[in-house]
Assembly symmetry: C2
Homo-oligomer: 493 residues x 2
């Protein structure tokens, strides 16, 4: 495949001479994949090789590939990057059975949690599991099971056990400023389950959903799986930053956002931005999906209340999870919906999902009521703040001149923005991983839609919940070494 020729032909055909090289390459490759010039299964040139062949910067190629992967046109595999099967509908019917592989919407997603990296320093998303009071939890469970009547082995309330819904509502009102009663709370099997429910209950296939870019891969998976049209919307220093044109030209049905601690960059959405987002959503008839995944851990400044409670009857679907506050394997999360939607959602749940796990839900309700949950949270807050302080301090010491810390005020991870825009976060993350330091590249969280803002967010994501304070300085020193050795690319022309 002569890429130079391909690019040249495309540029002439589309008069795209004016476009930045990255967009040109991205659109050219996408067109070639769509019209079959690049057939499914074709292995693309390595980024470095292609960059040389075309005489452009390597990051230009890296971002174009990343973008196409987000859109499902490319599949990264162990040996590089191959073209995905994106044959149009009419053809798919005649394609061979399972061997043909997964549906288009099941392709080009990102791994939510890589078990191979568990416990590795700075791998994000997992709380300190040794800090969890396992014996206490076991006792709650055993008590709940012993109290269970045979009838309680049956399907449960599709909305969740009333006792748990009430306990969650109390917790949210007290600690997150969420305005709700138990009837608005729906128990799910975690954030993925909550996002899936939002998509199916409140949007039809083809409807537009906004996702922050860079953003959370789990949201991409849930919304693409539900057949929605994904539009990545830029995140700036104040959080999700839709333009007037976005509201007009890409009017959303759902808006996914992480205002308390943006995933992955950690920005806290400003109050002004929150209010204008609520306004915009109201005007567009859209619902905001507020994912409050790790907001229970606030390290400095006043706790910011959830958007859900910011305006009376705000058009917000509020998602929370016990994966961070309890443990991921528990598989219990929740969704809080506006009062008007609650009865309809309850009947939809009764028609679309089977519920149960009564003993586990009652045990969790007791864990919350008894105060054991609050005590555990306080212990973890102290622990995470200690680790965060150690991390911020060593980052300052070893990388202060070359990177800027974002999002350290809350949660279990922070973001490191590289000062030198010519450094390639994707490459640095790869090199660090080779040394057992698991830092995710911010640009690897770019979302589909228009060319994402990944070029603006060029840096690393560090999770610190599982890293003992005394190990942090040594690890950061090694990470700094990796950044030192990273070869800067000439500015993209």
């Amino acid at each position: 495949m002569d890429y130079a020729l391909l690019l040249d032909g495309f540029e002439r055909a589309h008069g795209g001479a004016g476009w930045p090289r990255q967009r040109l390459l991205h659109e050219c490759l996408r067109a070639a994949i769509r019209d079959g010039t690049l057939a499914a299964g074709t292995r693309l040139a390595a980024t470095r090789a292609l960059a040389q062949e075309l005489g452009i910067a390597r990051n230009t190629v890296l971002y174009a590939y990343e973008q196409l992967a987000c859109e499902g046109y490319l599949l990264p595999d162990r040996r590089g990057t191959v073209v995905a099967d994106v044959a149009p509908g009419p053809l798919r019917v005649k394609a061979p059975p399972p061997q043909a592989g997964l549906a288009r919407r099941a392709q080009g997603l990102r791994t939510l949690h890589n078990a191979a990296l568990d416990g590795a320093p700075f791998a994000p998303g997992v709380p300190d599991l040794h800090g969890f009071p396992l014996a206490q939890w076991r006792r709650r469970l055993e008590r709940a099971w012993r109290g269970l009547a045979p009838a309680q082995l049956n399907y449960g309330d599709p909305a969740g056990e009333p006792a748990l819904r009430a306990a969650i509502a109390d917790h949210l009102r007290a600690s997150r400023g969420v305005v709700c009663d138990a009837s608005q709370v729906f128990v799910t099997d975690g954030t993925q389950g909550s996002l899936d429910l939002c998509a199916r209950a409140c949007a039809d296939e083809g409807d537009t959903v906004w996702i922050e870019t860079p953003g959370y891969g789990g949201a991409l998976a849930a919304f693409r799986g539900a057949g929605l049209t994904i539009e990545g919307i830029e995140v700036d220093g104040e959080g999700l930053a839709p333009s007037a044109a976005d509201w007009r030209a890409r009017t959303p049905k759902l808006i996914y956002t992480t205002p308390s601690h943006q995933y992955p960059v950690g920005v806290v959405m400003s109050l002004a931005r929150r209010l204008s987002l609520i306004e915009g959503a109201r005007a567009a008839g859209a619902l905001i999906v507020e994912d409050d995944y790790d907001s229970e851990f606030r390290h400095e400044g006043p706790p910011l209340a959830a958007m859900q409670g910011l305006a009376p009857d705000a058009p917000v679907l509020y998602c929370g999870t016990f994966s961070k506050t309890m443990f991921p394997g528990l598989r219990i999360g929740f969704l809080v919906v506006p009062p008007a939607l609650a009865p309809q959602l309850a009947s939809m749940r009764a028609q679309s999902s089977a519920a149960g796990r009564t003993a586990e839900q009652l045990a969790l309700a007791e864990f919350l009521r008894s105060g054991e949950f609050a005590r555990h949270l306080r212990r973890m807050r102290r622990l995470y703040r200690q680790r965060r302080d150690a991390l911020v301090e060593s980052l300052e010491r070893h990388l202060g001149s070359r990177a800027e810390v974002h999002g350290a005020s809350a949660g279990m991870h922070l973001a490191l923005q590289l000062t030198d825009a010519r450094l390639i976060d994707v490459a640095i993350a790869r090199d660090a991983r080779a040394q057992g330091i698991v830092v995710n590249a911010l640009s690897a969280h770019a979302m589909p839609g228009r060319v994402p803002s990944a070029t603006r967010w060029n840096g690393l994501m560090l999770g610190y919940a599982q890293v003992p304070a005394e190990q942090i300085d040594g690890l950061v020193r090694r990470l700094a070494g990796v950044v030192d050795r990273a070869d800067p690319e000439p500015p993209d022309s």
Copy 2:
């Protein structure tokens, strides 16, 4: 609203004079709802009243309403039937927020399990919960939790715990003739989870899925939720009966079927039908979703092996659940996929769903390995067969001349086909329920697509797993009384 005028105008406009009245009424009402003549929220005339006004049979009206409800155009509520909100896409964006209610795909579904009817005689779908060895299961759970290391509180293998996958594979090979190894088994949270996974992994929004009609409402919910196009396909005495025209004009991507014990009519799919379905699926590049929900309970004749094991590398996704064999609240089911699909599905799971519940999965694996599961199944088989024998005998005694028993050879429910085609099963089911006897009308299980075959399957579904043998005869006598008092409609003209 003058329905006579509406119908008359539609008939002239569409030259539909040739159509059967039921289709005419159905198409006419649908058009009126689409073009807004019947606005969202409008309450339709009662079936009896409308039948009189139009001078047609009441069952014609009942079936038309049922069909429109299946398609999401009508919403049954406590006081009758109202028009659903089916505003077209472009309009929806400008609609007011949550108050606007659920997405179209979340409407017109059926209740999967009505908790209000729990324990009521003949309510289907729930095993005998008092027969479950709860203490034994509790011990397994406690042991698993006590053996759990903190690291096992983390996200689990997205495909399921290896020990459980292996135990399930062994069980299926031995008892169901399923040809698989552990790598093809994926643990889900039940059949709804399995069907959802099939839809998202193997079909794109808009792809066609075949559902048996009459059929299982849970399949409708899962596939509509995933944005697939639903096509109801007739069920005859040999099971799913697609015509050559169906294969040609409505070529499926997925084919949902319950060959071991059709839901709800209980027919066992003939071997010839199974083989031709596999052939057709191969030719169309479609995958068969085989839901083997209650096949562990076989009361007479040789156990029929699953379709999955019938042909080498059959294009079959095999679904099973522990909701019937253990208890519904457990929320553990499984999906067995073709070898070629397994690795791809594993990576898709890692990208789209978070797993956990390690202790519960290990406990279940032990329950299977230890033989406790097999012993429990044997006890339940004896119990259900006893209850089935009692039910079949009383049905023969009290309704023998007026109804024919189907699907009694396996499972936890049977179907009663009314001999007098002029009786309306929907009306009989309503009257019986008023007397505390919960029998579902077969025609209420009609699926969307072309006019369903509900008119051919006109009868009742009776679940017997929870009804003590000694109570059965008295209940059936009362049911027979209800059938006696049912007023037959004049044959539909």
